[in-house]
Symmetry: none
Subunit: 385 residues, 2 copies
């Protein structure tokens, strides 16, 4: 954590004379007004941790959706007319997705939300550009609008695509343990249930009209950020609208960069974010993933006197046993090596977590040697890492 914070400070310090970082710092926690592709082109390569994008579905909404040559296809065949507008939407999608991919860190991920009108085109374009889909996540609405004509199913969900920068980018941020702990100790699923944005959270103008047609609920953004970012991370939203992403980022101790074309939305978003109170940093501390905990050598247990050479370890059901040697290896019959290797070999497996497999006799029964590792780790924590 300390190193992360200092790295962040270095990143944002005006004393840092690298040409890239100040460029990002200048835009942190602000809204860039303008076209999202042009705005993203101002940001450095690999500079943001998470992108959340809620692109327009409606072809009429975007001035950038017009085909460059304005050519007219045979209007008597609606099929080709349709294809033409799909092609324009695809070009638009491709353009902003390319710009977004450049500014995304290798450890970063992107979220894109859409409905059946656009999400299939968006997803296909993402795959074409090399994004690697991690999940599609369904936002199930507790209170969707009914289908008035009774000619379809009630459209009760929207789809989000969560993707990393490419297939090789494996070390993206995902707070798996926290999600699981927060979900009754079972894995968080790909279908999430939230109410639509309404009530006090929904921004209204002086006439009581909603300011933005598709304002997303803060709860949705909160789960996204809690799942895929760390405190201090930078979240980019190229279709900022009325700033749900910024509001949640501020509340949850993340930084944001917003991009928006409409001044009315920008004004509403700035006023909204002004009212947000950030949470206390202590409440933002996240569950430490097992993978991030300090490594402990099995030999340390011997050196600390927690185990002695010659001790016999067994598995939980005492079906296998192995003897501890002074060099921190185990031996079991013809098998010898690390706790993991011997654990795997005695079972005939390829792999095994020796820390949880092997047990020792604590005088009152068998206990996994992982509990001895925990003792070492507490010593490390007390001595400040």
């Amino acid at each position: 954590m300390a190193s992360k914070l200092s790295a962040l400070k270095a990143n944002l310090s005006p004393a840092n004379t690298s040409p890239r970082e100040p460029e990002l710092a200048r835009h942190l926690d602000t809204i860039i007004k303008g076209d999202c592709v042009a705005a993203m082109d101002k940001l450095p390569d690999a500079s943001v941790d998470v992108i959340f994008a809620d692109p327009p579905y409606n072809l009429q909404l975007g001035g950038d959706l017009h085909r460059p040559d304005q050519s007219k296809v045979d209007a008597c065949d609606d099929h080709w007319d349709q294809f033409d507008s799909f092609a324009a939407y695809d070009a638009f999608t491709r353009a902003w997705m390319l710009a977004a991919r450049r500014v995304l860190k290798p450890t970063g991920t992107i979220w894109v939300i859409g409905s059946y009108h656009n999400i299939f085109r968006v997803g296909a374009t993402m795959q074409d550009l090399g994004y690697w889909i991690l999940n599609d996540v369904v936002w199930r609405k507790t209170n969707p609008m009914p289908n008035f004509r009774g000619r379809r199913f009630q459209n009760a969900h929207e789809t989000m695509i969560w993707a990393s920068k490419n297939e090789k980018a494996k070390s993206y941020t995902f707070n798996y343990e926290a999600m699981k702990a927060a979900n009754d100790d079972t894995q968080m699923r790909s279908d999430w249930l939230f109410p639509i944005c309404q009530g006090g959270e929904r921004l209204k103008d002086d006439n009581g009209q909603k300011v933005h047609p598709t304002q997303k609920p803060e709860a949705l953004l909160a789960r996204i950020m809690m799942a895929s970012s760390k405190p201090g991370d930078v979240v980019l939203d190229p279709f900022f609208g009325t700033g749900t992403t910024g509001a949640v980022a501020k509340k949850l101790g993340r930084r944001f960069v917003g991009i928006e074309r409409e001044q009315a939305y920008i004004d509403a978003a700035n006023a909204r974010m002004e009212r947000i109170e950030p949470l206390h940093s202590v409440d933002l501390r996240q569950l430490m993933p097992k993978r991030a905990e300090p490594r402990v050598a099995f030999l340390s247990l011997l050196e600390a006197g927690l185990l002695q050479p010659g001790t016999v370890l067994t598995d939980a059901k005492s079906r296998h046993s192995a003897t501890v040697r002074a060099d921190g290896t185990l031996v079991a019959g013809e098998h010898e090596g690390s706790i993991h290797r011997v654990g795997a070999r005695v079972q005939g497996f390829e792999a095994c977590n020796g820390w949880t497999f092997w047990h020792y006799d604590n005088g009152d029964g068998h206990e996994p040697i992982d509990s001895l590792r925990a003792i070492i780790r507490r010593q490390i924590a007390r001595s400040g890492g």
Copy 2:
């Protein structure tokens, strides 16, 4: 209804000498062996009422995957699921979708099921070809396979696209009232909950191995047919597999045309359908899965604003306390984790029900957080579990 039935009879009568109908009649309630495009080319224009298609998903799997207990996951690595590139998959999709569109009646609709690996490409291709998407429907699995490495959300759903032949085709079959009646007199939503196919329904060979890697549950097909077809309608399945579509069609008084390349699947499907007894009447409500009390994420309480990060929870007698963090975990001294885990640790127990153990201050005294869970559950009940 009477006119529909008489029209159907006329259609199927050998006395009807139109060149088209006998061509279809010859294939009714049979499986055509071979490539699906070649087989569909044998069928007349505008001759089928519903198409259900479960095309290859083009999974791109790496090496083997093992469960935490080191057992190997039986992957879907069949040759028919392998494609060289997205372009190859798109060409394949385009070819069968074009053939399917020709044989579909103007009043007909098509259902295509897929996962995030392929569904975006499939949906974009459908739009390009002029299909008009009516809904995307999410099949939420009650019992999906977990994510074994803890690097993604549990992939707990698949997506179906429901589309008519083109934008102008407004008089497609949709049994809105029947769906509504079956769903406690509220509109049927676009997210459906069903278990995966297992138990007695799952076809096994003599060795107890599953016959087909991706057999779909009959309940899913039953809802599709009850929603979008009438008795006597013809349902085409170009990727018939082990014949779930045929089995459900027979059970529900629909006709089917199956297309399948693999003889082993054809044999299994024919034997299966032989065993099916048509139903005399169908009570759709019996097809609505009953769900136990849904699991609620503690995180949902924060997202709903019922609790705030930083809130201090106590046990009933205020002997223990813990602070709520933004990620939905608790922290109490050196203990951190889920409400259950921290509840157990502060008491020195192995296990604890955090929902009843932890209390919050409701302004008028202490109340278990379980009462907040009840609020969330009421929302969940409204959206079908």
